[in-house]
Amino acid sequence: MAPPPPETLNLLLQPNPLELRRCSDWLQASCQRLDVPAASSGKLDLCLNEVLANLIDHGGARASSCPVQLTLERADGDDGGLATLTISDAGRPFDPLSFSSEPLPRTLQEAEPGGLGLLLVNRFVDECSYRREGDRNVLKLGIRWLKSP
């Protein structure tokens, strides 16, 4: 018999700063419901916050008037689990995977206050894919964890 399809949870939100906390509350509650470990859900929460903050700041007028759709799903393998968050928005075409990060700073003067959000996303996620679907950006972020012995 085929394994059951992964459970998915969805949320629609308006991309504005006041929605960020509701969105984080939804993600935390959804991760709890899907038994995603706290360390993984914390990282996913941070990545989601950075992607939405980037959209709010740089997504353009259309982004702010169209809802963002979030989907969270969990899949299990032999060694552990994978939580995948899909973020679909109507902002300007933007592939975060094309972002090339600067070398890490060696002194306080070298530390650039900008560009840290996407750097964090790139460092925290284990899987990441981007596609343009019609007039929407569709970004998938995956975080893996190992099964406890």
């Binding site: 906390r21 360390a39 941070l46 916050n49 950075e50 700073p105 060696r106």
Partner: protein, 105 residues
């Protein structure tokens, strides 16, 4: 020697930083004092919070002061700071006594 302890808590995201950004700058970067920035009770540190910490540490540095970040066992905030390389440019310690020794050294 005098030192200043600045204790932050809760979520340092867009809304959180809107509330405390100016206060953080005025507490950390106005006088050239050694500053312990206590992040033990910060549950979430977004890039906007890191930006503010970098700016404050730079301003303090230019005035001749020095900042040490106190983390305790805050693993998510530690991972966030390490991922951006900030741990290499602003000293991070895990214990309050060590923070005091380091910032006064």
């Amino acid at each position: 020697m005098k030192l200043r302890r600045v204790v932050l808590s809760g979520r340092l995201d867009m809304l959180g930083m809107e509330e405390i950004s100016l206060k953080l700058t005025s507490l950390t970067a106005i006088k050239p004092l050694p500053v312990i920035l206590d992040l033990r009770d910060v549950s979430f540190l977004a890039s906007i919070g890191i930006r503010s910490i970098i700016s404050s540490a730079r301003a303090l540095n230019q005035k001749g002061g020095r900042m040490v970040i106190l983390l305790g066992g805050n693993e998510l905030v530690q991972a966030t700071l390490e991922s951006t390389g900030i741990d290499d440019v602003i000293p991070m310690v895990f214990d309050a006594d060590q923070a005091e020794r380091d910032v006064l050294a």
